[in-house]
Symmetry: C2
Subunit: 101 residues, 2 copies
């Protein structure tokens, strides 16, 4: 596997680890999302200091409005967070969501 394929494999494994706990194994419910954010992205998001932030993120994430987060929605969120935090993107203007539709 290439480095890119290995990285995507890791992301699937992280998603699966959290999404398989309750209900639909292909979706993160609110509790699973919260656990994932705290376990894997706590340096990006200070979840424990601001519990309402999880609600806000879930709301942004849930593009198809079914109350849970698919793998595609999850990766789109992590991508946004990566652009915000990576030094490579410091001069990059993020495309507006509406421009991408």
């Amino acid at each position: 596997m290439s480095k890119l394929e290995t990285a995507m494999d890791t992301i699937v494994n992280v998603f699966q680890y959290y999404s398989s706990n309750e209900g639909d194994k292909f979706k993160l419910n609110r509790r699973e999302l919260k656990n994932l954010l705290q376990g894997e992205l706590s340096s990006y998001l200070q979840v424990h200091r601001d519990p309402q932030r999880v609600e806000a993120i879930m709301s942004d994430l849930d593009m198809n409005m079914d109350g849970s987060v698919s793998f595609e929605e999850f990766v789109a969120m992590v991508t946004e967070l990566t652009v915000c935090s990576s030094s490579f993107f410091q001069d990059y203007t993020t495309p507006k969501i509406n421009e991408m539709k």
Copy 2:
């Protein structure tokens, strides 16, 4: 860094390696995309056997119609390919693009 953050860092590095060669360093043009597909995703896409496939992928990718591929568009493509190839997702029904808008 968590495993997830390390994986996203790898994806940024792969994107940067190819996108920095020509023109806008935050975008992949057609040649850069072709090189990336051949170098990093050749087991998913048999690019060398079907050159028109690159045009088709670029066309699908380029959601904001500017003729080049942003990091967000690139990650969305790799995510789709991952869902198609990962054994975890074999029973998963991919959401229609229109349902996600």
